[in-house]
């Protein structure tokens, strides 16, 4: 693994993870012309067929989507009794899935908004990807609160609409805050995603050969023509959206955690929940981005745009947030002991050693031990290992929500009402089906929309600097000098 200097860019490079002091590592490999980036991304949606793996994945995803539809239909026509829920365990798989999917979404917003504000240029390679993941994950999340209410046909009671009973939602309840937080999050994420995609849709429109593609991409590109007067407002709008999304994403999982923290139940009623949930959300979301990016860059030939350095960086974020999550687990236990509250103490001892000890053990080994492996660069940059570890983290984070929700409810204040939760086939089918919805949408996105932010990637190429090549007047020679901002040329 020799270090890469920009002036050595000649042969094909696959590893750009080494740090060379004084230079910026290239984020776009083996390409120095803008057209190459356009081609690399656009050819995916322009090709007449997809890789075989895409068809196999899509067939599987559609099958699971059908299962989701069937399970929901069965639930609606029969009643929530088809789930394994019963007092005192009134929430289990439904809310576990809800929190899991909302959490997955958070990495997308973190990449698109927070890394944008921090001027982390590597975000451009993965932001479209991650934002799409956010939207599809929030769609999956939104299903569960919607169907767990029992009488799905009156789900509009969640919103403050005038009705014949002259009743209003109770705004002091965190469950209602959740309605506003998640729906705002979905709306703003979609706006952000779509706004960012307009210039790239225009690219596909301008390259389209078929009439259908021209009209389809043309309509959604809104007549974008790259006018600099438009770019000026566009960039400002994008910055504002990033600035608005940053507190929003932190608020959303905080509000989700209020669903638990505002209640009086031991194991839920803790002030550490908001930051702990946000860190866990980012942790699981980044793992999911890695899970999706690794096969996508292989299948669609995007290794020069989603480089090893991007994956390395994401694994570092997994390491950091995983450590925060591990710290939160430890701090919960400390406070349970330190508070002196007997119910609180019991709840935590019971969580680790009670009837759900196996789930707790799985959660700790997946979420605390696994990410620590990313201290080693060899592991951070090994594609098979990181892919496997990202799956492990996803499993662990699903179990984290399961442990928090179910173990706290199952053994509450009154031992005579203690229960053990057993999922029914409908519980499991709905959970699996949500993955079907997610992957159906994601695979369609990969196939038909620009998977990488073409315009944004061009911006971070050395050739995009207006002063690039001022010295040698060799405009075609794009490689060579990253960050040659000798700003006094004009």
């Amino acid at each position: 693994m020799s270090s890469i200097r920009a002036d050595q860019v000649g042969g094909r490079i696959t590893d750009n993870t080494d740090e060379v002091p004084g230079t910026r590592a290239p984020l776009v490999l083996n390409m120095d012309k803008f057209g190459q980036v356009t081609n690399a991304v656009a050819k995916v949606s322009e090709s007449t067929g997809a890789p075989l793996a895409w068809y196999i994945g899509f067939a599987g995803a559609l099958g699971l989507l059908g299962l989701l539809g069937f399970c929901i239909l069965y639930l609606i026509v029969t009643g929530v009794g088809v789930w394994g829920l019963n007092t005192p365990i009134a929430w289990a798989y439904d809310i576990t899935n809800f929190v899991f999917w909302v959490g997955i979404g958070h990495a997308g917003t973190l990449i698109s908004a927070i890394l944008f504000l921090f001027r982390q240029n590597w975000r451009t390679g993965v932001n479209r990807f991650a934002e799409s993941m956010t939207i599809f994950a929030v769609m999956c999340a939104g299903i569960f609160p919607g169907i767990h209410v029992g009488r799905v046909w009156v789900v509009y009671w969640l919103f403050p609409l005038p009705n014949q009973m002259e009743m209003w939602p109770q705004f002091r309840s965190p469950l209602l805050w959740d309605v506003f937080a998640v729906s705002t999050y979905f709306t703003v994420s979609t706006l952000f995603w779509y706004t960012g995609m307009i210039p790239d849709l225009a690219t596909l429109r301008d390259r389209a050969k078929g009439r259908l593609q021209q009209i389809g991409y043309g309509l959604f590109a809104l007549g974008w023509r790259g006018s600099n007067r438009h770019w000026h407002r566009y960039e400002r709008a994008y910055l504002l959206l990033a600035a608005l999304s940053t507190p929003l994403v932190l608020s959303v999982h905080s509000v989700v955690s209020f669903d638990f923290a505002v209640s009086q139940l031991p194991g839920w009623h803790t002030t550490i929940f908001p930051p702990y949930f946000v860190a866990g959300a980012v942790f699981s979301g980044f793992a999911m981005v890695v899970t999706l990016a690794v096969p996508a860059r292989e299948l669609f030939g995007l290794k020069n745009l989603i480089t090893l350095r991007h994956l390395d960086n994401m694994n570092k974020v997994v390491l950091v947030t995983g450590s925060i999550v591990g710290y939160a687990y430890a701090m919960e236990f400390f406070i349970a002991w330190y508070s002196g509250a007997i119910y609180e103490k019991f709840a935590f001892v019971n969580r680790a050693f009670g009837q759900y000890w196996w789930a707790y053990l799985l959660m700790v080994s997946c979420n605390v031990i696994t990410p620590q492996l990313f201290w080693f660069k060899a592991i951070r940059t090994s594609i098979p290992i990181m892919f496997f570890l990202s799956l492990v983290v996803n499993v662990g984070m699903w179990f984290e929500r399961f442990v928090i929700i179910v173990s706290s409810l199952a053994n509450d204040f009154l031992p005579s009402s203690w229960e053990f939760f057993t999922p029914t086939w409908v519980d499991i089918g709905t959970m699996a089906g949500a993955f079907g919805l997610f992957f159906t949408l994601f695979l369609l996105f990969c196939r038909f929309l620009p998977m990488i932010a073409i315009a944004e990637v061009k911006m971070i190429m050395p050739a995009a600097d207006p002063h690039h090549g001022d010295h040698d007047h060799d405009h075609g020679d794009g490689h060579g000098t990253p960050a040659t901002a000798n700003g006094d040329q004009s």
Binding site: K33, F34, G35, T38, P160, P162, E166, W168, P169, Q170, F171, R172, P174, L176, W177, F180, A181, T184, T187, V188, L191, T195, P199, A202, D206, L222, G223, R225, G226, S227, N228, R229, H230, W231, H232, R233, Y234, E235, R236, A237, L240, L241, L244, S245, P247, L248, S251, V255, A455, K458, M459, A463, A464, D465, P466, H468, G469, D470, H475, S490
Partner: protein, 205 residues
Amino acid sequence: MTTFETPTPTVDPAKTAETPKLHGLLAEFETPGDVLKAAEKVREAGYRWWDCCTPFPVHGLDGAMGIKPTILPVMVFFAGFTGLMTAFILQAFTNSSGMSVWALVWVTGYPYLISGKPLLSIPAFIPVMFELTILFSALTCVFGMFGMNGLPRLYHPLLANDRFRRVTDDRFYIVIEARDPKFFQSRTEAFLDSIGAVAVEEVED
């Protein structure tokens, strides 16, 4: 370096009247640096109805073109404030008051008494106030940007031009419109050639 005087405005109205089909002149450039330098010269030559079209925002081009900062942030601020007040009034009305008001239909508030908390419990209203602030701001931000940019737009003369298709790929363009008071086809064409354009062509309206 240019040997072209800017034509006097008196020439213009007749000229544009003679060529009503002409939208303007399209000049193509190969690099961001070229279009940046050219844009400075177009601005110095005194043109007003002109634009640069690029595949991505070119750093420094706003300054070179003399684009004034957009008022979008101000709009977003007021939208956010509207969202904040909307959420507060909505919650205070529906949960804290028994008033009846007409809002398309007659609606009546319901003073909820929840575990002895004050009727107007502002801390509990903060999450929704925050969310609606963000929601209103974001919607205004995006749709305000579209609106001021005149998008969506189903037809534009430039989009019918074949050369212009590379604007979303790897080429950079300057367009000077025929309605510009200083537009004079032959001189403007020569001017665009002189500032480094690799190709100049007419765009039909």
